[in-house]
Structures are given as C-alpha cells and as structure tokens.
Subunit: 348 residues, 2 copies
Amino acid sequence: MISLAQQNPHRRFNPLKREWVLVSPHRTQRPWQGQTEAKTAEVALTYDPTCYLCPGNVRAGGVRTDKYTTTYVFENDFAALKPDAPQFSSDEGGKGLLLAEGESGVCRVICFSPRHDLTLAKMSVPEICSVVDVWSEQYAELGARDDIRYVQIFENRGAMMGASNPHPHGQLWASRSVPDEVVSELAGQREYLAKNQAVLLCEYQKLEESLGERVVAKNESFLAVVPFWAVWPFEVMILPRRHVTTLQEFTETERSDFAAILHSVTTTYDQVFDTPFPYSMGLHPAPCDGEQHPEWQFHVHFYPPLLRSATVRKFMVGYELLGSPQRDITPESAATTLREAHLRTLPL
Amino acid sequence: MISLAQQNPHRRFNPLKREWVLVSPHRTQRPWQGQTEAKTAEVALTYDPTCYLCPGNVRAGGVRTDKYTTTYVFENDFAALKPDAPQFSSDEGGKGLLLAEGESGVCRVICFSPRHDLTLAKMSVPEICSVVDVWSEQYAELGARDDIRYVQIFENRGAMMGASNPHPHGQLWASRSVPDEVVSELAGQREYLAKNQAVLLCEYQKLEESLGERVVAKNESFLAVVPFWAVWPFEVMILPRRHVTTLQEFTETERSDFAAILHSVTTTYDQVFDTPFPYSMGLHPAPCDGEQHPEWQFHVHFYPPLLRSATVRKFMVGYELLGSPQRDITPESAATTLREAHLRTLPL
Ligand SMILES: O=P(O)(O)O[C@H]1O[C@H](CO)[C@@H](O)[C@H](O)[C@H]1O
Ligand SMILES: O=P(O)(O)O[C@H]1O[C@H](CO)[C@@H](O)[C@H](O)[C@H]1O
C-alpha cells in the first residue's frame, strides 16, 4: 500500500458493492470520552436451565427444544418472514412513491452445539464441520424451493451485536426476494466479469495472497483477509482459493478447511482484546434464483464492532448514516494486529 | 395503507435511495432478553468545568474554547478530513481492485448553546434560529469553495449514538467528494424527475400531507413525517412545503418555521419514552458541486435507535448488515405514537 495512504485521509473503493469508505488514519489519537460497553463475561455453565436454546428447555413461545446432542435446527418462534405471507403489491397514490409488496420466507435458528458455554472459537474443527454440514443441507433444501431466492445464513455474536442469548447459535432468513446487499454484490461482480472476463473475488484473492499485507490466516483451501475496503475496524472476509459459488460445491477437504478457517478467525478475534469478540458474521453464496452465477464467488463476511479495546466500539452514526462509512485505523494496521493475534493462537 | 401490509411481512421501496426495507409487523410480540442500554440521565449543570465544549474550558487537543455566549463554531481537533490532505490516486495491481484516492475537507464542531444542560428540545425557537443561521452561513462559506462538493451537517445525540459529550452540539464534515448516501439520493431524485417531470420529494410531501397517516407535525412551511420506507423504528423526515434546494433559499419565515419544526420533532421524541431520545440527525441540502440541482429537494433525516423503551434499542446487525434493513413496528404505528406524543408537547 502506498505510504501516502497510511498517513492521510483518503477514500477506498469497494468494487463488490461499488461504494466508497472514508479512511482517516491520523484520527486514532482522538481521546474517547463516549460510551463504553460492558465487558463480555465468559460463560461458565455447560447447561443453563433458563436458556431457551439448551436441550430440553421450554422456549418463550411455549415450544420445548428437543434434547439434541449435536447441532439443532428449528423454526424461529418469532420469525421476521413467514411461508404463508400473502402476496400483494400496492402503489397508493399511483406515483411509485408508496410501493409495497408481500414478502414470504422462512426463518430458522441453528444451534451450533448443545453446550451452552461453547462458541465457534471454543468448538473443535470437527464440531464446526457439523455446523457447516447443516448450513449446506439447509441451503440445499430451501434453495431448491421455487418461492425462495436467497438463503441468508448468519450469526450475531455477543450482546453488543443484538444477540439475546449467549448459547452458540446462528440463524437463517430465506426470502422470496434477493435482499439488496446481495443484489448490490451481484451487480458489482457482474460488471467486473463483463469488463474483465474474470471473477472479481477470485482475482482479488490472488492479489491479496501475493501482497500478503492484509492476510490474516490461510489454509490449503481458504484465505482470511481484512478487505482493502473494510468498513468495520477488524472486518474480515473469508475467500475460497478456487472458484465455488455455493457450499454444496465444496469437496470433503474444503468443508473441513472451511471449518478450520472459521475456527482460526474466531480464535484470533478472541485474542485481540482478550475478550469474547462480538461480531455479525454471514455467508454469501450465490442466489438460488434459478439463474446461473458465473460472476459469483462464495465468501463470508465478519463485521465486528470493537475498535480500541474490549469496551470501546466503533459507532456507525451521524456521518456514516448520512454521508459515507468512515474508519480510523487502516485495514493494513488492523491486519497486522490480527496476524499477530493469530500467531498467539497457534501451538508453539 | 392497505390492511394486508399492517399485519403481514412485506417489503417497502425507498425511491430516494432505490432500496428496500423488510417490514415484519407481527414480530413485536417477540420477548426481549438481549442487551439493554443505560437510561440517559438528564443533565443538570448549566456549566461543567470538565466539559471541553463549555465556554472558556481547555479541550483535549490543548486549545481553549472561547467564552462564547450564543452559538460557536471551531475546527474539529481530531478531524476525519483535513484541508491539506495530499491528492493522489492509486490502483495497486492495476486491476481496479485496490482503488484509493486522497480526500481533503474540513470538519467543524458547532456548539448550539453555551448552556451545558440544554438540548434542541429545551432551547427556544429563537435560540434554534441562531443555529439555523450558523448552518446556513457555514454551508454558504464552505459550499462556495472549489475544493468542497458537499457539506454534511449533522448531530449525534446521546451516548447510544456515539456522542462523547452531552453539551448541545453538532458537526459538519465538508468533503471534496460527494458522499455515497448523497450520490444515491441524487440518482433516485434524478431518475424520478426524468421519468415524471416532477420533483420526487415535493410529490411525496403532497401525498403524505393528503393521506395524513404518517404525518407527525407540521407548520406553515414544513411537514414532519415517518417515511413510508423508514428503516429506524421512529425515523422522521422533515420536508419543506415548497421546492427549495438549500438553506440559503429559505425566507425569514421559513427559517423560523424550520427552527420550530426541529423543536417540535425533538420535544416529541423526548415524550415517547419520557427520556432524552438519542438520534443521529442530518441536513441534506443539494450538493455544492457547481451543478444545477432541479431534481433535489432539501430535507432532514432523523435516525433514532430506540424501539421498545428508553433502554431497548433496535440492533442493525446480522440480517440488516448482510441482507437488508428490517423493522418490526410499521411506520404507520410509529407515526401514531409520535403524533400522540406531539399532542402532549402542545399547550392545553
Ligand atoms: O466525532 P465524534 O462525535 O467524536 O464521533 C462520533 O461521530 C463520528 C461521525 O458521525 C463517528 O465517525 C464516530 O464513530 C462517532 O463516535
Ligand atoms: O432474531 P434476534 O436474534 O432476536 O434479533 C437480532 O437479529 C436480527 C437479525 O439480524 C435483528 O433484526 C434484530 O434487530 C437483532 O436483535
């Protein structure tokens, strides 16, 4: 990276979403007098009788969670999307200003483990493999349906990221429409393919691997990198080292390498501020909209909010909501911190 | 609004940004076991000797704040943008994947009042008029410069929205580039003008005024409405009742009506949960990029995070970051709550 950019305000372009982020590297000296967050406590109980995700307990909606022993999937009791939602479309006033349309779908909760005290970072790679298998099965099942065009699999980890329960779990929201974030990534990747006869994220992975300065971890099949255009302080993207559009295309080795890189990223995060690192994480396979997606490369986003310490986060407010995202530390310095943290997770 | 939408999951279209929001009206029954926020304390001190924005005090950077008596503007000591930032543009690897360019600009802090304990809601309309005058002068001064194409004026209010100081103040970030949020609103408004030979937000204001169900407050010159496509639970947009692109075009009456509607919205907010309501608020005048902007209508966005109570906020995480924004209460029900709160602010 040119040194001018390391010390001066600049913008960087995200070709995937075709958006800019403002980078202000000199701003880290700013003292912080604002809100601090509660330090996340480690969970000690392997079974919590008050947790609605622990095996055999009754959930808020009145349903009893099975006595599961590995991973466990159930319909979200308070689903944002419902399979039987009526289809309608309306344009009150007829001016295209009050457009609404019915949206159906399915929301499920995916418990990663029966153990209340675990996290992806504390689970073993084979245990994470079972989670990957469940994600893959879910995508296959729901993606095959005519009324589902996208399956968004994600995890909100930590109270700071709106998780209402520390039990290791993620969610999927599968919808009739392709959501806008994916629409925008689709447009960026399509444009790149048309212009360059190459897959954007495959080219990007090769470039990052050759430069190395934003690489956090890698294995035979995957690369974890702080994107050049990262918005969140310690944002990470996981990229396969060959072209694959969905989880189903993974070989056996790739599945276990995928579990391993998820383990590397989450254990690395927990090292940074010596605290369970909050984040939202999500898988971005190609849409299951019945079309071919030669432009699409499977990838995973990690969006973690912490900036300076276990208790001081980045606020995406004011200028970020009204103008453009802004970051203080450069992606290169975040990658250096993460690389060093990653080394501490490895056996001596 | 058709009743199907009041009870069923649906999407609504934001024509300004050309994006969708997922609305899940049935989801409000969901119990909340997640993070709660500290209740915001009322500020009692009119002068706080430890506040770097109170008149005569020394700031973190070592500079002394003047003994000001009305509004007060100074350069941000820890500015995200700097006037002398070097211009450069780089594309390491030559594939359009690592694009960066130098970005210069100016960041200023605008103290609304010397009184530490005030807020826009507690200030009088004439006092808010002085703030409006300062905004207008700042936009005129900075907007006239060749190296400034946008002046983003905003306020982060409350610790929950990253404000590091309760002293009543806002900021402006003026930049060489037009930020993406504005670029996207520009595109939406341009498209609408080209298709309909009418100004999007002028048409929208008339439609909302005639329907009334999302209107929160109004006066001779302005309307405050929960947008049909609102993302934040109690999001509000202020729209002029005639076509104006910038603050400078306001008549004397409009300036004071603008101060009055800002006062109405902020006092209304504080009524909702009987607490100082946190928000990010920002002015969206047309870009000062040397071009004509017949498509643009001046407007103000209020993005407040609270959802259920003074301590339970909406988290924009997981699905919101990876898929699309999602809301639980409908804009119509939020408008009803706000309208009732507004009535409580009026003299009997
Ligand atoms: O400049 P402040 O008020 O210290 O900082 C606050 O507002 C900025 C502009 O919205 C944000 O970038 C920061 O994350 C936030 O903490
Ligand atoms: O469904 P949960 O985990 O209760 O809710 C959490 O994740 C959802 C999906 O990202 C968000 O819409 C909610 O704001 C958040 O609190």
